[in-house]
Symmetry: C2
Subunit: 422 residues, 2 copies
């Protein structure tokens, strides 16, 4: 047996870059200069989606606070704010800290703020000038927040969450909302700033029936709660927030806010997150529903996020193993091969218009670092090294696999490296 | 409607820390100072596992090159090397770069090296002094590697992979192995350094039958291939590698290597990865199989990785929503609530011995940031803010959710923040 090698590493070697998901310079091509697998966002559909959803919100008299948990990518937060977003929605206190540190001044934590360490993070953000809102749905949490922020000498904006029986978080009835509002009113450090809801849980609770009527009812109840709290003088801010909407049913929420003319008195806020890169699965399907309900919208969102990976082995007829795994792409549904390219030499410049067929390719299994592709008979043109673009369902769980995503143009040239802040 | 807030952020605010998964100082307690959710590794079972697997390998005359893709945590790589590991196994070229940069001098890429950008990463590592091995299983890849490394004036150590029909990568027969060995022999820049296999794919191919005999056969074929390549003078190094084993069937591989007395002539290398923190699911179950086959081993591996999260909402009787989601923990199987603690005040010091019951708790659904817990009747002592420790199946897909994992002692005090390098 050989002895274990024990020489210490040289300092220069140790100092070499340690990011392990590739650090290509901008200007390189996905076809010949970038370490794959890599997650890529296409510029054109990204710009389309940013403008589309902003227009959609404004057309309904609503603000947009895109859910930032989807991407946790400051470069995308910046583009969302530049496109006119009112703020960014986040799911956790550390996410809020990351967004604020990257230049987002207005933060909507669409969850209960629990735990003193998380409260301390938020207190720090408020002290640093953040405009911050979070959600409450119960007495214990409201009292804990009241105590903590009073001790810090700060005022915390809270939104009461309306839930549904059998749903996720949120008060189960308007009565509970009003009880909680009175309790918030009695906590000097808490300022009731409006109502919050998430219609996605209504879908779950509707157990297979058409969820549209239930979502419309829920949106109406949410609006009514806000209006009653306002009439009762329980809201402490000038233009209270009313906010809901994920990425699947935002049209129903927007319509309810619009029909109630919330914009005259309230600050209506929509919070879709996945729209920014859309997807090739769940949300593409949901978008078909939106467009069916709203033929006036014409062209909808476009999928912008793909993961590029290479054929690693062709070990037997009819089977390609691709170097793509659960470490690289979301797998709520199995990823879908979209296009294929031949890898190009360093001086070939990346000819992205020459795509090869993936017709009949079927991804049958995804391991941590490998995808199994069943090839149709006669797939003789497939080569080890071929580059395959994959689409996935549910972009959140693709973003969180990457420390950076690559913004690319139609020619697959990298325009920008966007860091993620998970 | 209010105008969007457009004031630029102050520079000090922008400069605030932007990591979003909490940056607790060591010495804080998971019960009162750390932003949750957080991934924690317990010191005692970690040390036990490190020593256990090293002893196991040595007792079978084998070296250990733990699969680093599991954790991608340099602080764990260091502990593995200190415990006596021969090297670290990785799954991709960027992972190899990350390991080398963090002080690992000997790298085993247990995959085909595909794509010129990835080859360039490896060339850089070899030039910087890394001892590097990768896997080949086909002519096209071998030729591409031969061309690339010849052009760089470097020699690449390759291991031929033996697969199984219906499996993942790897030559489907010994005959293909020998053909490929002759081709490697003819490539001046390639040096055949031994044989590689992965018995996990045998399990998959055995379709429900007891895989043990098939794995033993596979291991024997792998050894025979190496011995024949050696006899035929096709191996270019002095003590050729023979390497296999994931985290479920390592005992069978070790026994086959031991029985063939590989250590007399070869460098036998085992590559389990998940052993280092073990798990509460798949690998715990696999370990029962190892201990059943090997009653001499007595005490086996111990689960060391848990994710701590807080009860966020108690919205209706029988339901707790915990701030734990697919963003925080692997979900090959649904996570399992293990213990519960009451959150403690900043001066209470974290009394980890006072646990509360999770008997009858059932995690029924995991969303991106929320877990649904069905509580048994009479769960009156559950409070918002309660801290729940969760175990998961398959540690790889928990590690890759985190930029840092916290090494904790039995009292739940943070001893070290370990950065991950995904």
């Amino acid at each position: 047996m050989r002895e274990p090698m024990t020489e210490p590493m040289s300092e220069p070697a140790k100092r070499k870059a340690i990011s392990n998901k590739g650090t290509p310079e901008t200007g390189r091509s996905l076809l010949n200069g970038v370490s794959l697998p890599a997650a890529a966002i296409f510029e054109a559909p990204l710009s389309h989606n940013l403008a589309w959803m902003q227009r959609f919100a404004e057309a309904h008299g609503a603000h947009l606070a895109p859910h930032g948990k989807t991407t946790m990518t400051p470069a995308l937060f910046r583009r969302q704010l530049e496109a006119g977003a009112w703020g960014i929605t986040l799911a956790t206190a550390p996410q809020c800290r990351a967004a604020f540190a990257s230049g987002v001044p207005r933060l909507l934590l669409a969850n209960q703020l629990v735990g003193e360490a998380n409260m301390a993070i938020v207190a720090g953000l408020i002290e640093a000038g953040a405009e911050f809102y979070c959600v409450v749905d119960g007495e214990a949490n409201a009292r804990a927040l009241g105590r903590f922020f009073a001790a810090r000498g700060l005022t915390l904006n809270v939104l009461i969450e309306l839930g549904v029986p059998g749903g996720r978080t949120g008060c189960r009835s308007p009565e509970r909302v009003f009880e909680l509002a009175r309790l918030v009113d009695a906590e000097p450090a808490l300022q009731l700033a409006g109502m919050e809801g998430y219609e996605g849980v209504v879908t779950d609770a509707s157990q297979g029936a058409d969820p549209v009527p239930a979502i419309r009812d829920y949106a109406a109840r949410l609006v009514e709660c806000a209006q009653r709290l306002d009439r009762d003088g329980l809201i402490g801010v000038g233009e209270p927030l009313v906010t809901a909407s994920g990425s699947a049913w935002y049209d129903l929420i927007a319509e309810a806010f619009d029909a109630a003319e919330l914009r005259e008195r309230f600050t209506p806020v929509l919070r879709p997150g996945c729209y920014v890169v859309h997807d090739h699965g769940l949300y593409r399907q949901a978008q078909r529903g939106v467009l069916a309900r709203r033929p006036d919208l014409h062209e909808g969102l476009k999928p912008a996020l793909e993961v590029f990976a290479q054929v690693q082995s062709l070990p037997e007829p009819g089977l390609a193993i691709v170097a793509l795994g659960k470490r690289d792409i979301g797998f709520d549904q199995l990823p879908e091969p979209l296009r294929r390219y031949r890898e190009q030499g360093p001086r070939e410049g990346g000819r992205a218009d020459e795509t090869l067929s993936v017709a009949g390719w079927r991804l049958t299994r995804l391991m941590d670092q490998h995808a199994f592709i069943e090839l149709p008979a006669g797939s003789d043109d497939v080569a080890v090294g071929d580059i395959v673009a994959f689409g996935a369902s549910h972009p959140c769980l693709t973003f969180d696999k990457w420390r950076q995503v690559l913004l690319v143009d139609d020619a697959l040239s990298v325009r920008e490296m966007m860091e993620t802040r998970f």
